[in-house]
Symmetry: C4
Subunit: 261 residues, 4 copies
């Protein structure tokens, strides 16, 4: 259920000196693997950042000169990121604080949780999405505003892959920050919440930024599935879980903690 902590886990900050080395290319294999991962990481970093630029530009264009939408998209992104950050922090030592069936899937595939718990967690998370939407509807005077919809011009394939890539990043954050044990693990909820925040800055405008089937399912149940694109939020985040689990397996297989000699 939990991975045995790798010996190399803390090697990033170990005080012991590395053994002496001689040739410039002795670590070429590690260097190549590390460079490949720098490519992946740079792509992740700049995809989210460029995505934010793209979203705010499109939002500003669609909202006209007064551009109110830019503030609103940031507000919504912050609501999701901050809410996950603190909820996961409160529940981190209780259930782990997943709150997301796609994260549950990634943890199942990574061997962190077992099938019975996985099934129960997914049911609980979908029901939680419904309960949250019903509560917000009950507590406020207006119609429910939180259905996920596609922005004008985006096609379903783009939406599916945007959800898939951003969900993969979120699941990878859970695997690398919380499932892997190291000094900063008690602060994983902070990193995971901020990861959702960064992903929302890219995706809220275009797809509503589900990254979580329960997040899209709950308001749709409460409002009677008004949009016809609900499937996007099952397929996209589902693919994201698979990508994250595969990348995590590869990182473990190649013993990522040996790349920084």
């Amino acid at each position: 259920r939990r991975n045995t902590p790798a010996n190399g886990d803390l090697n990033g900050y170990a005080a012991t000196s590395p053994p002496p080395r001689r040739g410039l290319f002795d670590t070429l294999s590690d260097d190549l693997q590390a460079a490949l991962l720098e490519f992946v990481g740079t792509t992740v970093f700049l995809m989210l950042a460029f995505g934010g630029v793209q979203a705010t530009g499109a939002e500003q264009a669609s909202a006209g000169a007064n551009g109110v939408g830019v503030s609103r998209v940031m507000y919504i992104s912050l609501s999701f990121g901050l809410s996950l950050l603190i909820s996961a922090w409160l529940f981190f030592r209780v259930t782990g604080g997943l709150f997301n069936p796609n994260v549950s899937t990634a943890l199942l595939l990574a061997g962190v949780i077992e099938p019975v718990r996985f099934v129960l967690f997914c049911i609980a998370q979908l029901l939680g999405g419904i309960a949250a939407a019903a509560l917000v509807l009950a507590l406020t005077p207006d119609a429910l505003a939180s259905n996920c919809t596609l922005a004008p011009g985006i096609n379903p394939a783009q939406a599916v892959w945007m959800e898939a890539f951003t969900t993969a990043i979120l699941c990878l954050a859970v695997l690398m920050l919380a499932a892997e044990k190291h000094i900063a693990t008690p602060f994983a909820p902070v990193g995971i919440g901020l990861t959702l925040f960064a992903c929302e800055l890219f995706s809220v405008y275009y797809t509503g930024g589900a990254l979580n089937t329960a997040r899209a399912f709950g308001p749709a149940v409460v409002t009677g599935f008004p949009s016809g694109t609900q499937w996007v939020y099952w397929v996209g985040p589902g693919i994201g879980s698979l990508i994250a689990a595969a990348l995590y397996a590869a990182l473990k297989h190649y013993r990522y903690w040996t790349l920084n000699p």
Copy 2:
């Protein structure tokens, strides 16, 4: 006055291997309890996030096309969240940094503080609310802007329960992050401040986001109780303290630290 730290406190990051297990359903009881709590947690996470969406939509509609209110509500939410974060950090090792009679109530019910201190703290906190309102009035040229009021269309029952649920989350943050002792406890003020920030993103527009009777009482005293809804900020947050204390007692009773085997 302080709970004895539970043995299991750090089990979330313990390096010891769990004992071998055999059947898929051996941990069904723990799995069910954990799933129930995942339901609660997902509801908390998505209620606050959907609430933020709801508030910014309503605010945008009420403010007209230029939507200035969205930026303003975020500014106010940030002012409260950040101000609590840093004030609580400064006073954390002095008094605990509660600054809220509803948090005091939750800590009394949880057995963390005793009755004499509880009474003195509540008085101090209510007086602090008055002093802060008087200071801001004295230091600025305008009328005091910080009274809590209900948004157009929200009814008092909705306001009471919105205050109750958000206050419960804030009190639970204090109990789980500060009263429970673990590695991240010295950073509890950060989590508690961010919890208030997340709750404000939902409630500032609708109720003013008190989550704290002293916060509503202070400006009302200084301005002569102009609104007639002061009772909402005594009943709502009061219910919140009770919910948080009950949930915390249940978590301790079921030894929450054993759910993550």
Copy 3:
């Protein structure tokens, strides 16, 4: 030059049980002191939060319906808070990362730095303010925008005391988070930067939010003292240093770490 770490420093998270106690009022003296400090802390928390509400309301009124100023004041507050946070983090283990003659004054009065270093630091900080203003002027095509000015309607006494109280909070953050040694001390720059951010949300609109004589002096030197209110930024923050040093001395005298039994 550094205070000897108090034994009680870590008592907030100590695992040892307190000695048994009998009467409800045995700790009345501690309870009273703690309640007095809860009053101070609640006042600090709510003064900054109410101040943010006040500032954004006034800014919105003065900027007209489109309320651009609210976003701008948040941008400026964030620039100062974040910039101090990261600069102080980078220089924390080098010079301490004060960057503020009023913080230097508070540390001198608290016995953390000695007179020679104090004088040299103040000179360096004032020169740094001038260099920063000159650099920004040189690197950008426009006139320098960063002079501190008083908002319409605020009188000099209000400005002096707003600067004094907010500077006192900033200096107290340095004393309680960085000068006092405890588990979270390596993260003091985060708390100190966020403290400046919270104080700016109150004061940027009204006074420019100096909280630092060097911050007001630098742009004034580069632009030829255009406003005639430079004295406010010497008197106000100067009083703030004295308040912080006095409060810190009182906290140490009454051994604040014994208030949480």
Copy 4:
């Protein structure tokens, strides 16, 4: 490849008492060095903060009364800062999470990485910038919005030096927070991401805020180098790497950890 941790590394929080001293000027040499560094640090702090003020003022002026640009520049700054923060956190124990050829250069010059890895990393980072731009273009319906351009009125020399100084601060953050080993090192990605955020608040409006040749190169490749100022983003950040490496070497040479006695 890694610096041996200096003995003095943790002296900022060491519990041991300093040896007794007698004269007021015994530490004059250290005091002078520390004051010089306080000058540098204050300049960094206030340059970024004044830069934010400057940028938001210019942006507001150029966008007209509705000032939408202020929110947009903050959104973009946050996208970059947050995206680096979380990406670097995820990859910190894998490759180090540099994602920036100018950071790679600074680490090469500081002796933290070796030439083979440096070359491979730079290639990977430039390819990552192209991949990210291509992905955002593929996933969204609009033209790519993330090319770096110069603001109206800024001249190329100003742009080069703005990029150089901000890149130097970013590289120095990597060197002081991640390459130097101390208690807060596991949290270096937080500090480095926030450093980029602070630098963006100054530079996004004026130069696009590259601070990273790969960030400017990727979108330019995908869009066919539309602007003719690409060289600015190779020269400016390149100079920044040199400044950071030189300052870091000086700090090590003068044993910065001895300045705080």
